[in-house]
């Protein structure tokens, strides 16, 4: 007779007043993403990898498509994973992980694996998840495999030397979108709204966004995604010190400021209610508080900053927060100076080939 597929349920951490940023007594001790990798100082994706795998625990199978977190993590004979891990081609994050999920479903049913069904997840960069592999992830979400599909988003192809990806923000300098006389803003296009696309396009899936600035939120959303029976998608903002040019100690701070400046709405989509739940940050900042910390924006002119502020203000409206008049006023370029002239601004990024 066919065996029953028993699934795991992971406990959620308490979220006092929404989020407690500094006190994490109930954090799991296990570290399936151990020391021994070669990520940069201040690497946002490495922080995300660690929280996600702490949240998932040891009874887990992980896939990792090509990207910086493949190259920096998995040195032959010295990988940092104490859980089974497999590299996949960059376009195969969704499809390979589908195969693992399908394999475990069948093996448990047919008596070839005792169970319980492992936590199955993939962590793909934005180049993989929003660009070359978006079809394979969409296919996997559509088919509703019981797995968690994570996009760690450092807003560029970092591994290959900081080239633009569909999630690189407007005016973000990359080596494929340098600024110059003819194109002073560098990147001219606004970013693809990947998580929204996944939620709207696959309404039966659990979808959420988060950042490395909110570890409890990241852990809980990872666990909710894994607990959800079916496919889940988690889009996590993960700063890249090498690509963005900021002080290495500021990774977590950036993860909060991007939310507080309205540039990264943090939300959760509940497939049962078919509704979005938005996080309302306690602080609202002008976008310059965020942009000036990063060299990739150092070339921005007043009109570019104003356009970014206008985009942030639309995000505030989208998530149901009032836009203070001070922030509305900042949609006017006359209210801005060149970003390089802002106080505390980072040096302009002139790196070629990164």
């Amino acid at each position: 007779m066919t065996h029953q597929v028993v699934r795991q349920t992971l406990p959620l951490l308490a979220e006092e007043d929404g989020r407690d940023l500094y006190y994490l007594p109930d954090l799991p001790e296990e570290d399936p993403y151990a020391a021994g990798h070669r990520t940069c100082a201040g690497c946002g994706p490495a922080i995300q990898y660690r929280w996600v795998l702490k949240a998932a625990g040891q009874d887990t199978v992980v896939a990792g498509p090509t990207g910086c977190m493949y190259v920096a993590n998995s040195t032959y004979l010295c990988t940092p994973y104490t859980v089974p891990w497999a590299h996949t081609p960059i376009a195969s994050g969704g499809s390979f992980t589908s195969g693992v999920a399908a394999g475990y479903e069948a093996m448990i049913r047919k008596g070839r694996y005792p169970g319980p069904y492992p936590n199955i997840l993939v962590m793909a960069g934005d180049g993989s998840a929003a660009d070359i592999g978006i079809g394979s992830i969409s296919g996997a979400l559509y088919r509703d495999h019981d797995a968690l599909f994570v996009c760690y988003d450092n807003e560029c192809y970092a591994n290959t030397g900081i080239q633009t990806s569909p999630t690189t923000p407007y005016a973000g300098m990359t080596t494929f979108t340098p600024y110059g006389k003819a194109i002073p803003e560098g990147k001219k296009l606004p970013p693809k709204n990947l998580a929204r696309m996944m939620a709207e396009g696959h309404p039966h899936c659990y979808v959420a966004t988060t950042t490395v600035g909110y570890p409890v939120d990241l852990i809980n959303k990872t666990r909710k995604g894994l607990n959800h029976v079916g496919a889940a998608f988690l889009h996590c903002y993960t700063p890249c010190q090498k690509g963005w040019v900021y002080q290495t100690s500021m990774t977590v701070e950036l993860g909060r400021r991007v939310v507080e400046s309205g540039l990264w709405p943090v939300w959760e989509y509940d497939p049962g209610e078919r509704a979005y739940r938005y996080f309302h940050p306690p602080v609202q900042r002008p976008v310059t508080d965020y942009l000036a910390m990063q060299g990739r924006f150092g070339h921005m002119l007043p009109e570019h900053v104003a356009r970014t502020q206008a985009g942030a203000n639309r995000n505030w409206e989208l998530i149901g927060m009032d836009v203070p008049q001070a922030l509305r006023d900042l949609e006017d370029p006359a209210r801005h100076q060149r970003l390089a002239d802002e106080e505390y601004s980072m040096p302009v990024n002139r790196g070629i080939g990164a």
Partner: protein, 425 residues
Amino acid sequence: MTSVPVDAGPPRLQRAIRTPEGETFLRGLAGTRVRQNGCAAAAYAALYANVDVITAYPIRPYTAIMMNLAQFVADGILDAEYLHADGEHSQFSAAFGAGSCGARAYTGSSGVGVTYGYEMYSIISGARIPIQMAIADRTLDPPGDFGSEHTDALCTRDMGWLMGWAATPQEVFDKSLLAYAIGEDPRVLLPQMVVQDGYFVSHIAGEVEMPAAAQVDEFLPPYQLPFPLDPRRPVSHGPQIHPEQGPPLQLERARAMEDAIPVIREKTDEFARVFGRRYPHFVESYRLEDADIALVISGGHAVTCRAAVNRMRAQGIKIGMARLLWVRPFPGDDLREALAGVRAVGVVETNLGLGGASYGGILSLDVTTALYHLDGPRPLVTSFMAGLGGETVPMAEFDWMAGKLGQAVERGRVEKAAHWVGFED
């Protein structure tokens, strides 16, 4: 730190159970002879092999294999995850993922579908994941052409997959089981392509003997990947290497291909013992004992070729045929043995190799290289471009080829490296 067991061997996986409906269905089939085409034969073999995961994407003509399997799953005869991929690249990736965690995975394609997923071939064989892929040949574009041509599968010949053509539905059925047994053998661990000519084999019915499930279970042990993605014994698959770590891994894969040769012989003999049908290990030698000239061929056109050989023999022409049952690993020893003493060899290509040393097809490159190492006099070799785009190769064309080979023997040299059959006098 959590302690992780690293010294335990891989957990042994049990034989996959069949559904009660599947048991009943297979009991009813055992010992019967069923008329079915090559696509159905491939699907029945996957059913008997009790595959765990099937990944499908539609393209003619192989689609019918997946249609058959979809019905088996819908009827509860086969308990398998049937995954509708979003394209061939994803399709092969998903089969790769399933195979990597220890599930027996089955996939397939035709024509440009085979080439769309090209990235995956080296990755899957390099990871040593022995999934099976059924190919029903189709011409590559342009222009859009449904017809059979071996170019699609042969494009992938150097990617580390075991590859062989079946000439009849019965052989498709048998070869699918054989290929799993060979590829999953721990001495080999390589993925397999079981190839059949589109339409000529995939869509023309022949008689296929249905075995008892117990025979298949005896011949094909449960799939035991030595290093599955299993939380009970964590392993890392496919990490980044330094340049100096590359050559040893490539050598391992090359050796696996060589090591497959004795395993193919052993499993082919074992197959004959269990099922009572004996195939040559690598090369079907047909009327070659005293032949002056010979045609080397692969796949379904061999059926016509045999008849042509018989008719020419009746006319006193000393011709024979060597049919390749496996193209990867290429059977150099067996081909040399079969063709020793022959004075001129024509390779019937049914594939397109543009700009190569043969100025015609792909197959003659391997055949010529193999024959170069023959002890004693070497036969002349030429390439016959025939059966392209899905055209049949009629008896008259084999007669024409024999004529060209006869002339080559008389002159002591071939007229040209490749003849386009039907375009020349």
